[in-house]
């Protein structure tokens, strides 16, 4: 029995969608934010003797010097990059975890006890984030690697990243090849996001999906994709290149259509990710950058079974989903803005969990939606940064004609600060305080708007 057995009646869908969305968004936000690994790596600071602020605007957010270092395969290019120049006792390993106190509230969540079927639910208490073990560096000149065993906050491990990269092929910075599991080449990186709370610790544009929030999975025991592919690390290979100062950058990646899950659990399809960006100097204002990206993905809607059990990797009836985006990083000295626009589309089969070998429900069509984001930072100094983000999603086409035009529209507002009491070349420590609020249109079980909010006070450390 497939998890995505077709359900034709629209009203049943609508009800399922509303209950699912409220809970789904809550769970999604929690899962994404609590397991979000980052790539601020003090092992590099220790190797090269630089403070975090040399490579990071405010860790983990990279500045252009850090971007060039990363693009060069974790090499500074001064003939001291190869491990043979390091003391043999040097071990390129870093750990990051964030003990914190947090409070979450959802004003209209479905409970069995609520007379109307929904009620306000608040939780709070002390907690842990996931753990990232970041091992990274160079195996030899122009061969770099990253291995990130990562755990959720129950210490259940997986490999968040595991790749090897051949850098500067043909002695050109324009040709680098990476193979394994890696973060896509996102300048607006969710792995280096400066916000950590359950509602604020993700970019909505990377994860938002219409309807029940999650597309179909051919095996109910598998995690479904958590978004449109961009926010999650993926398995595949990447060809990337950049100018010497990384002002001009490109990347092309071919990925297994498994959303980064190992053992080929779904099908034999491949996704594609493309990105390009160009930076330019604006006098004393700083370095400005504009760029674009596109993700073209597919996911199966049914598959082969044996004795009623899905055979991994035999998914069939692939249907497409896509995201294109444009972004800009604008610096006015200490004040910077990131702007991003995204347009998304997916197959009605995925949006309505309908196997491709049966007819779509009446009135179903391919949904599309747009995202817009403005993230503002004010870097008072390398040890103190103020953060604000407004993230919004607008549905332009619903998957079912019965849904209201604005159903699922979303506004997210986050603000906070990070204070780094000390800054050296050995480790990193930040006191992190944040508030985030997400309002979604009409998704409560009774069809009302639903708002979730998070308060987060964390002690973010990496060694």
């Amino acid at each position: 029995m497939y998890a995505f057995a077709a359900v034709s009646e629209s009203f049943k869908r609508l009800f399922a969608v509303r209950c699912g969305l409220t809970t789904g968004l809550f769970v999604l936000a929690s899962v994404v934010s609590l397991t979000q690994p980052s790539a601020a790596i003090p092992a590099f600071a220790r190797k090269f003797g630089m403070p975090c602020s040399a490579c990071h605007e405010a860790w983990p957010k990279l500045n252009n010097f850090g971007q060039v270092f990363k693009d060069n395969g974790y090499q500074l290019g001064n003939d001291r990059d190869s491990p043979i120049y390091k003391d043999p006792s040097y071990w390129p390993v870093s750990f990051r975890i964030t003990p914190h106190w947090h409070r979450e509230n959802t004003d209209r969540m479905a409970t069995d006890q609520a007379p109307t079927g929904e009620q306000s639910v608040t939780t709070h208490g002390f907690d842990l984030s996931g753990l990232d073990i970041l091992t990274a560096g160079t195996l030899s000149k122009n061969i770099s690697f990253l291995l990130t065993p990562s755990a959720d906050n129950t210490a259940s491990f997986h490999f968040e990243s595991a790749w090897v990269r051949f850098d500067n092929l043909l002695k050109s910075s324009w040709l680098n090849v990476k193979v394994g599991k890696f973060e896509l080449d996102n300048i607006l990186s969710e792995k280096r996001i400066l916000t950590l709370s359950a509602n604020g610790g993700l970019y909505q544009a990377y994860h938002y999906l219409p309807q029940g929030g999650l597309p179909a999975s051919v095996d109910p025991s598998l995690p479904s994709p958590l978004g449109t592919g961009i926010g999650d690390n993926q398995l595949g290979f990447e060809v990337a290149g950049h100018s010497k100062n990384s002002y001009t950058r490109y990347s092309v990646a071919v990925l297994s259509a498994t959303d980064g899950n190992v053992s080929l659990p779904t099908n034999r399809g491949y996704d594609t990710f493309l990105t390009f960006s160009q930076a330019f100097e604006a006098g004393g204002l700083g370095l400005q950058r504009v760029g674009a990206f596109a993700y073209l993905g597919m996911y199966p809607t049914y598959g082969l079974t044996s004795g009623g059990t899905f055979l991994p990797g035999t998914g069939l009836g692939n249907k497409m989903y896509s995201q294109v985006g444009f972004y800009g990083l604008w610096y006015l000295k200490k004040l910077d803005f990131t702007t991003m626009y995204t347009h998304n589309k997916e197959s009605a089969y995925l949006a309505t969990a309908t196997p491709a070998n049966i007819a779509l429900p009446t009135g179903a069509h391919d949904p599309s939606w747009n995202g817009f984001l403005v993230e503002t930072h004010y870097t008072v100094n390398p040890q103190f940064i103020l953060i604000n983000r407004f993230d919004t999603i607008r549905m332009s086409e619903q998957p079912l004609g019965s849904l209201k035009k604005d159903f699922g529209n979303l506004n997210s507002l986050t603000f906070g600060y990070r204070w780094y009491p000390f800054m050296n070349s050995r480790d990193g420590f930040a006191i992190h305080n944040e508030y985030s609020r997400v309002t979604s249109k009409g998704i409560s079980p009774t069809g009302n708007d639903s708002t979730s909010s998070s308060v987060f006070l964390g002690f973010d450390f990496i060694f």
Binding site: F48, G49, M50, P51, S53, A54, N64, F65, Q67, V68, L76, G77, N78, D79, R80, K244, N245, S246, E281, G283, G284, G286, L287, N381, P382, N424, S425
Partner: protein, 292 residues
């Protein structure tokens, strides 16, 4: 009471003097103007770990680094277009920041914006009073490069012997000459001569012109002297051509010419007895251009 007031006013004047010097310190390269006040914040972000808060090269990482970070308070700089003993130009410092120093922990800061780099230069200049007290020095004029010929390379080889470059750099340019192990810099730290056979970039640039400049201006703070008063520009180019052939693994015109000549230098010409000439002023005017 009067004594206390006097002390306070002295401290006040000192603070004003330091603050105004920081505000006033500028650096200029082309159309760029760097400001020390802006550079101070950037220095804190990028440089303080090695060069230290006071710019004395005593940052947290300094004990672990070899070679040691530059002490900006001494205002002695290796890479200059000015003659030995002089301060470098703003452009020299700007290029050094952007280029980095091979075989040291100093990376290339080329990814920083032009304004960031020039602001850093302005701040670096605030660490030593020499920048206020001394006038800008003349820049070494580099004549056009002479043709690369086997004669030029061979003559350069003779100069390599005559000037005793081999004592530090070794006969094959491996940096293993008989004096190599005894060398120290101006801070009494052991220092290694450049190993040409590695083929890596020179500390102060990668081009023939950079190599010419390095030995004509000297590398201040190290035992590498200036040869500007010792050899003529045409001879200096010959020496450049010969030194390039010591980088055997590097593709270069010099290596091609040497290979075409069977890999052997021409035998030295017998010394010609020249009439006595009056002693010359240090030549930084680029006199002599091309082989006669």
């Amino acid at each position: 009471m009067a004594r206390t007031a006097q002390r306070l006013s002295f401290v006040g004047m000192l603070i004003v003097a330091v603050a105004s010097s920081l505000c006033a310190q500028e650096a200029h390269v082309g159309n760029l103007t760097g400001h020390a006040a802006d550079g101070k914040k950037l220095y804190r972000r990028f440089c303080i770990g090695c060069h230290g808060e006071r710019g004395d090269g005593a940052g947290d990482n300094a004990p672990f680094l070899d070679p040691k970070p530059r002490d900006f308070t001494a205002a002695t700089f290796k890479c200059r277009s000015t003659l030995t003993g002089n301060l470098p130009t703003d452009e020299d410092l700007y290029k050094s920041v952007g280029r980095g120093f091979n075989t040291s922990a100093m990376p290339s800061w080329a990814p920083l914006t032009a304004q960031t780099k020039i602001d850093l230069v302005a701040y670096i200049k605030s660490f030593s009073p020499r920048w206020h007290d001394e006038k800008p020095a003349d820049v070494l004029k580099i004549p056009a490069e002479t043709p690369v010929t086997i004669e030029s390379i061979s003559h350069g080889g003779e100069l390599f012997q005559k000037l005793e470059c081999w004592k530090c750099h070794g006969q094959e340019g491996r940096g293993d000459g008989p004096s190599a192990s005894t060398l120290t810099d101006s801070k009494d730290q052991p220092i290694r001569p450049y190993n040409f056979t590695g083929g890596g970039r020179f500390k102060c640039g990668a081009e023939n012109e950079d190599l010419y400049r390095i030995f004509m201006t000297g590398v201040d703070g190290t035992p590498m002297p200036s040869f500007n008063d010792v050899i003529q520009p045409v001879d200096a180019w010959d020496l450049v051509h010969y030194l390039r052939t010591l980088q055997k693994t590097r593709k270069s015109k010099e290596n091609e010419v040497l290979k075409a000549a069977g890999g052997k230098l021409l035998p030295p010409k017998p010394e010609e007895k020249k009439p006595e000439e009056p002693a010359k002023e240090p030549d930084n005017k680029g006199a002599g251009n091309g082989r006669k």
